[in-house]
Amino acid sequence: MNAVELRGVTLQRRTQEELTYDLKRLIFHSLTNRYRKPKRRTVLNDVTLNIAKGEKIGIIGPNGSGKSTLLKVICGILTPSAGRVTVDGRIAPLIELGAGFDPNMSVIDNIVFYGVLLGFPEGDMRERVPSILRFAELEDHSREPLKALSSGMLARLGFGIATDVHPDILLLDEVLSVGDQSFRAKSNARMQQLWTEHSTIILVSHELEFIQNACTRALWMQDGRVALLGSAAEVTASYRNSAGVPPLLPV
């Protein structure tokens, strides 16, 4: 059984021009017969992909090629218009640091809140609070409102909570590294630990070098389609070729 299976996944979304739709215009346009059905754009086109358990797969491609959309489909934020997504195991995104923080709540409340959003029971999160505070080195600030923290402290907290998650499948949109020099070492260690420990990792990144070194396979997305799927070295090399980037010199 694969960890993730995508079968002919196609996703169509309403185009951006429809985003400012309002009731007034809908009524006027219907009255004057100018109403058009919202246009749809194909964002993912017939993507088929099997990711085995324990695989580390990197997704590369130009901006707007559907990389992040693919992650959203895998973790269930977006439902495909056609095709099938099967996921075996607990899945968690390592989301953008700080999404879901509330500046007016205390640090402790934010930790619990964030954890519940990520899918953990409230009781468990309360137990985890001390160790997360210790990791983020924020024990002295636990009762302060979040807005009293510096941006570096915020990043440490976000990283501490987000990497405290232990899913079977980890989704990463760009590799994270935060904080000052001493914390950076700590966060790198935690990332490496996630890497060695988690069975399956799906990473979207523009860091070709990192993908080549850290991933077993790579997927090249182009205009919502799978352009190439193969070993990380092979895919990154041909992507570099097509993008006009000189190949990585052998170390």
Binding site: R14, T20, Y21, A189, Q192, E207
Partner: protein, 278 residues
């Protein structure tokens, strides 16, 4: 940036793997944590803040009574006090309804950023607004309504039965909250229109005027307002010496259930399109 994967130097303490909350448990956790966040930021830890929510209906009751109390008292057994109590019960219902639905209206759109990052059941956002206001109603307004019922009916049965119109109010409010929050995703000018909806519901509820002054031919239209059966039932229970009218209670509960069902149906029909517009 994580440069290169090298073997770990020195084992870091490992966060323990834990069970992921499932289905209903997660849903309830989310509603609880979102509504407690709403209450915390609204009242900054002071429970007294809840009673601040009574200031609006109390003030409005005072104004209506001063202006209309004498003129309309003949419809209330020549008692200005009865007019005051009838106006307050009506305003209490309308106040919780308009506050909650107006707060729920932007709840899905406001959390659009979050919905694009984490998989969440979208309906927790309007529901948590309803839950936080239900709590506020239960500790703030409901005890006052029970006191009025004790004074107005002098019967314990009537005081206990206040819970039925309160429940109906909660259902109607939840139904409207679902619809408003779903439509706002598509129509960002909805708040202006919704002001109008609230005004219509306020003026068609016989809150500060006796229903008798409305022409008989117009009255059936007033009963299209789902708050009318709730206010009628609440006044019958709290302000008369009669035992609670089961037909009025049943009618208000039915209105609540139907409104909530429509609200849920609309929300789930539109939900598929949400993510393209958030």
């Amino acid at each position: 940036m994580l440069e290169r994967l090298t073997p770990l130097e020195g084992q870091l303490e490992l966060p323990q793997s834990r069970a992921v909350a499932t289905g209903l448990e997660r849903y309830l956790d989310l509603v609880r944590i979102l509504s407690s966040r709403t209450l915390k930021t609204r009242y900054r830890g002071s429970i007294l803040g809840v009673y601040w929510s009574l200031s609006n209906p109390l003030l409005m009751t005072g104004i209506y009574s001063a202006i209309f109390g004498t003129a309309f008292s003949s419809y209330y057994g020549n008692s200005v006090l009865r007019y005051v109590l009838a106006t307050f019960t009506g305003l209490a219902v309308l106040n919780i309804f308009s506050n909650t639905t107006s707060q729920a209206l932007p709840s899905v759109v406001d959390n659009g950023g979050l919905l694009n990052k984490v998989r969440l059941p979208v309906s927790v956002f309007p529901l948590s607004i309803v839950a936080s206001n239900a709590f506020q109603f239960a500790v703030g307004t409901l005890p006052v309504l029970c006191l009025i019922a004790a004074f107005g009916s002098r019967s314990l049965l009537n005081v206990l039965c206040v819970v039925f119109p309160a429940l109906s109010l909660l259902l109607v409010t939840a139904g409207f909250s679902y619809i408003a929050s779903a439509l706002y995703v598509f129509f960002r000018d909805l708040p202006y229109m919704y002001e109008l909806v609230l005004f219509v519901m306020w003026i068609t509820s016989p809150i500060f005027y006796p229903i008798e002054i409305v022409p008989v031919r117009v009255r059936p239209f007033l009963s299209l307002n789902p708050l009318v059966p709730i206010i009628s039932s609440l006044r019958q229970i709290a302000l008369t010496h009669n035992t609670p009218d089961l037909i009025l209670i049943g009618w208000s509960l039915l209105t609540g259930i139907v409104t909530l069902a429509i609200g849920l149906a609309v929300f789930h029909a539109l939900r598929k399109e949400f993510m393209d517009l958030l």
